[in-house]
């Protein structure tokens, strides 16, 4: 299905490109160096289009065509299917950690030559994604937090702990992410009630976490796959509490909506996106230039200010003020997802999870 649609689109694209080549040879030459970059659609892509890509083109002469990618693993599936057909719907894509690991399993990512990324020395180690044999699969693009969000009209006082999800007073008031691999609620349960995410090392530990998590079910009004669905309900107070992205919630609050994002005392969930290069892409050189550009401390600081993401480079290397840094991050030790589990036990976890929420 995906293969067909992509082929058709490529065909149309090739047709259009062919026609424009005949019509406007000058334009084509000017855009000789180009790169298709996949970023999450919606607010994310708009911000990149406005604040980042034009400056990059000015600095390097490489035209950027941004592609709106869906969140979660939907984009990974499309990239993989396309790569099997020798196509790259985007050369460089921003990928979440779970998607990075799954792509590694099929060698989907072209290894990145760190020697060509001069600015990589600024990067925090945990944002360099490596194949088991040490090749670099992806370089940290941005990092973000999933936090405890509330509607300020309904909750005058901000909750302080994830345990608010388990409070019987919040019956039918929560909006939570619907998938085990993007909600990271097992980690939240383990950190809040079981002393840390190491409790998930064994299957017994995971089952215990599932058991504890089942107690949340009566409080959940919405298990969402689509972010817009929850964001709307949170703003209107229809669903006044839940887990959501710290950056987008901050932007909504800045727009005057009655919402707030709180880092619970157990920590926010930290996830991050890597720049990764599809093996079907021919633009290896341009991709390296792009990734190098994005690793600059000044660009990372711009992203924090404009998009609300946390930097993937050392904080000292940026010129972010304490206030600016606090707006996108927190000093509380974050909950780092157990990405390994979503690779080694993905089907088992998915089955147990589906049975938990559907059953």
């Amino acid at each position: 299905m995906n293969i067909n649609s992509i082929k058709r689109r490529t065909l149309l694209g090739a047709g259009l490109a062919g026609a424009s080549m005949l019509a406007m040879p000058a334009v084509l030459r000017a855009q000789d160096k180009s790169l298709k970059v996949g970023v999450y659609g919606g607010y994310f892509k708009d911000s990149f289009d406005k604040n980042i890509f034009p400056e990059f083109t000015k600095a390097t002469g490489i035209a950027v065509e941004s592609v709106a990618e869906p969140t979660g693993e939907a984009w990974l599936v499309q990239l993989e299917q396309a790569a099997r057909a020798g196509q790259a719907p985007a050369d460089v894509s921003m990928m979440s950690q779970v998607a990075m690991l799954k792509g590694q399993a099929t060698d989907l990512w072209t290894p990145i030559d760190v020697a060509k990324i001069k600015n990589s020395s600024n990067l925090l180690d945990r944002f360099v994604n490596k194949y088991p044999d040490g090749r670099v699969a992806g370089i940290g693009a941005v990092s973000w937090y999933i936090t405890l969000v509330t509607n300020t009209d309904v909750y005058k006082e901000a909750p302080t702990s994830w345990s608010a999800f388990w409070d019987p007073a919040n019956a039918d008031k929560l909006g939570l992410l619907a998938l085990v691999s993007n909600s990271f609620l097992l980690e939240v349960t383990a950190k809040t009630f079981m002393g840390g995410t190491n409790a998930l090392d064994s299957e017994e530990g995971i089952l215990k976490a599932f058991e504890k998590l089942a107690e949340v079910k009566p409080n959940v009004r919405l298990w969402y796959r689509d972010e817009a669905q929850f964001e709307q309900a949170l703003k209107s107070g229809e669903i006044p509490m839940g887990q959501y992205y710290h950056d987008v919630t901050g932007l909504a609050a800045a727009d005057g909506h009655p919402v707030r994002s709180t880092f619970p005392k157990e920590g926010g969930i930290q996830d991050s996106g890597c720049w990764a290069l599809s093996r079907a892409s021919q633009k290896t050189e341009e991709a390296h230039i792009f990734i190098d550009y994005m690793c600059q401390s000044s660009i990372q600081a711009t992203l924090s200010r404009k998009v609300g993401t946390a930097p993937t480079v050392k904080r000292e290397s940026t010129d972010l003020t304490d206030k600016e840094f606090a707006a996108v991050s927190s000093d509380i030790e974050p909950i780092v997802p157990r990405y390994d589990l979503y690779q080694t036990k993905s089907d088992w976890l998915n089955q147990k999870w589906t049975e938990l929420i559907v059953g």
Partner: protein, 284 residues
Amino acid sequence: MRREPPQTIGDYAPLLFPAAMLTIFFVVPFGTMIAVSFFQRQQGGFYTPAFVYDNYARFLSAFFGGVLGFSLMMAIAVAICCVVLALPFTYMLTRMARSVQVVWLVALLSVLSLSEVIIGFAWSTLFSRTAGITNILVALGIMGEAKALTPSFAAVLTGMVYQAFPYTVLVLFPALVRLDPTLTEAARTLGASPLRAFFTVVVPALRNTIVATLIMVFIFALGSYLLPQLLGRPQHWTLSVLITDQAIYQSNMPFAAAMAVFLVLVTLGLVALTVIAGRKGEAA
């Protein structure tokens, strides 16, 4: 006009184009899906070509049986609701002036132009606590306090019936227009009330149309995967939702394909049963 069976190969020529389209856009993708359903799933990766039954084995469990049962039940309920609502409606519509019919049909057609997403979000707003219809009831003094009507089974059912209703009317309309009005007139002359005439004359005369419409709406409703997510709780998620989860979010194509093949087979089986039962009923 006399119909002759095709004599030469040339007479079959007009069939070639639709046959080719059907092969390219239906038979080939469906064949691919069946093939993929036997492939080996690579956990944490994608799949490799193979011939294994694992994907079907995983599906054969009480959990997925329950989800399949719910999906079928939901689709049947939608089909019955639609036909029960649309049959009297369409019957009355065909008795109206031409200009009134046109207005109604245009209105119904415009509902078809709405996507499932828009329908889902519109109903979830209408059923919400903060902006929904219960606020009107509160203003009228009928209810004490506004409450949310979604997520619930009734909300999913309403959304799906709303979505399928125009199709139902459009399928029933031609048959009802062609229905000979002298039939009901005769029944009325013989002393039947309008209601009695409708149930004893119109409904039996349209038996085959009604069965065909039920099947069409049933299949249409079975594919719905967005409305159950937007308006229902997880226990109201249909098998199509879980298929999407596997294909899009778990990148488990073989399992998704196996579930889809299973769903198609069960659907075809049910439709065949309905048709056979209909023939038997006719013969009796």
